[in-house]
Amino acid sequence: MTASRRLLPWLLLTPALLIFAGLTLYPLGRTLALSLFATDYGFENAKFVGLENFRELWDSRFFRQAVTNTVLFTVVSTVLEVAAGLGLALLLDRAFPGRTLIMTLLLAPFVLSTMVVTAIWRAWFHFDLGFLNNLLRTVGLPGVPWLFDPNLALWSIVLVDVWQTAPFAFLIIFAGLRLIPQDVYEAARVDGAGPWRRFRDMTLPLLAPYLFVAALLRSVDSFKLFDKVYAMTGGGPGQATETVSMFVYRQGFRFFDIGLASAAAVVMIAVAGLLAIVYAASLLKGAGR
């Protein structure tokens, strides 16, 4: 009985462990190993080069640009999405007729396939015939080169990302808002606090952990950015929208510079690991409260 009782949890974990071992642990190890080789494929004909690939990444203008773009994109889109999510949550905090319907509709962009989203917005951004520029020209403004101005293209993609994923930030923040006990506000109201002071001194501090989690989850996702760039700009114009994911994809599946691609992948996994630690710490802190 006790032996089987000790074995049981392992038995239950076996399928998941098998899948993780084959599909993540092994690939992770292989990526790590490959990052130390110069190879155009696997380990056959591979040449051990130590940390040469990492040094090359460091020296590569394109990798540095990809990192800069990814960080810029992550920070700006996360801030905007959390801000938009907070705004929406506050707006929908009080019940009114049609609120449920609105909440459902607001979620629509978030569940669409990124490819569908990209198809729509690529058409919208078209310089000569796109909906946005048609709109601008109708009111007498010049068209905007959404995707071909290198100083603008990244922000156009941010716009799409905010449209698509602000509802996700909203969901988290809204859930947090619902959990704030109403009597906190009652007390403040008795003290004569105005709406702005109530928001600043009560709502915001109580919401802070939710804002943090929303920001963390959004930044993790933004950091992976691939689909939108792949189908919207291919990383261009120039390197203006190249991201680290695109860099890995191009080195790996176009150039077959597997060593260099693996090195870049290792960098990404390291960053993901760091973010996971931050996230785990915040979860543990939340659980302790």
Binding site: V111, L112, A123
Partner: protein, 267 residues
């Protein structure tokens, strides 16, 4: 009052792109290749849908369904027992913490970072260019999510129910299937729907691991249309609408669950 107007206004604004897609899917090319801002088609047509259906698009939809079902099935079959074990048993040496930490890293890691070696794994298994291979690859996204989400649901099932059954002499499997699973049903359904949406929309692995055109999933096919240097907006919109209807329907079903998922993420 201002609040209501603002809420409706914002909602309408965020839906314009979708309205545009629906409308464009019914427009003849001359109407969308223009500088007009008219949203609604003047001369509605079903050509784009006809072209897609004649082109065997239902086949691609079926592929997406098969992959989504398989991904859901496998992630629940592997994820539920794992979540149960983590929630109910004391594992030695804080293995549960290590395991969950690992799950978290995988959940947060960029899929592209694993794609190159995954290629080799799938080839070794003889599963490149098969739906089963794609279902396996999708587990990287689906399984951590399923475990994470189910863990919260299992913890919510009071252990006392199981203890009572144990006193009645019910074996483990009986307890799991007759007590835990029925109580978990809402959680299982919610998890299944999220995993299904995730798989339905997945693009990168479908792009990399499926080569034969008739095995493509919908997003992979849409990408081939986007990459053409032509403005096939009508066809793309029709395609987009068909690909979106199931998820929009699903989100209507589980909107409550969505809020729930978020609170699970809070654990």
């Amino acid at each position: 009052m201002i609040r209501i107007v603002a809420a409706f206004g914002l909602c309408a604004l965020s839906l314009i792109p979708l309205v545009w897609m629906v409308a464009t899917s019914f427009k003849p090319p001359a109407e969308y290749v223009s500088t007009s801002i008219a949203l609604w088609p003047q001369d509605p047509t079903l050509t784009h849908y006809r072209v897609l259906l004649d082109g065997g698009m239902w086949r691609l939809g079926l592929n997406s369904v098969v992959v989504a079902l398989g991904t859901v099935g496998l992630s629940l079959l592997a994820g539920l027992p794992a979540a149960y074990a983590l929630a109910r048993f004391q594992l030695p040496k804080r293995f549960d913490i290590v395991f969950l930490g690992f799950v978290l890293v995988i959940k947060l890691a960029p899929p592209i970072a694993l794609a190159i070696p995954l290629y080799q794994v799938l080839r070794a298994l003889g599963l490149l260019d098969t739906h089963l291979g794609l279902i396996l690859a999708n587990q990287i996204l689906a399984l951590p999510f399923a475990i994470w989400m189910l863990l919260g649901f299992v913890r919510d099932v009071p252990y006392s129910f199981e203890e009572a059954a144990m006193l009645d002499g019910a074996g483990f499997l009986k307890r799991l299937l007759e007590i835990v699973v029925p109580l978990l049903m809402p959680g299982l359904v919610a998890t299944a729907v999220f995993v299904a949406i995730m798989s339905w929309n997945e693009f990168l692995f479908a792009l990399l691991f499926i080569q034969t055109p008739s095995k493509f999933t919908l997003p992979a096919f849409i990408a081939t249309l986007i990459n053409e240097d032509e403005t096939l907006w009508g066809k793309l919109s029709a395609m987009g609408l068909i690909a979106s209807l199931p998820v929009l329907f699903a989100v209507g079903l589980v909107r409550r669950g969505l809020t729930r998922e978020v609170s699970v993420d809070q654990h």
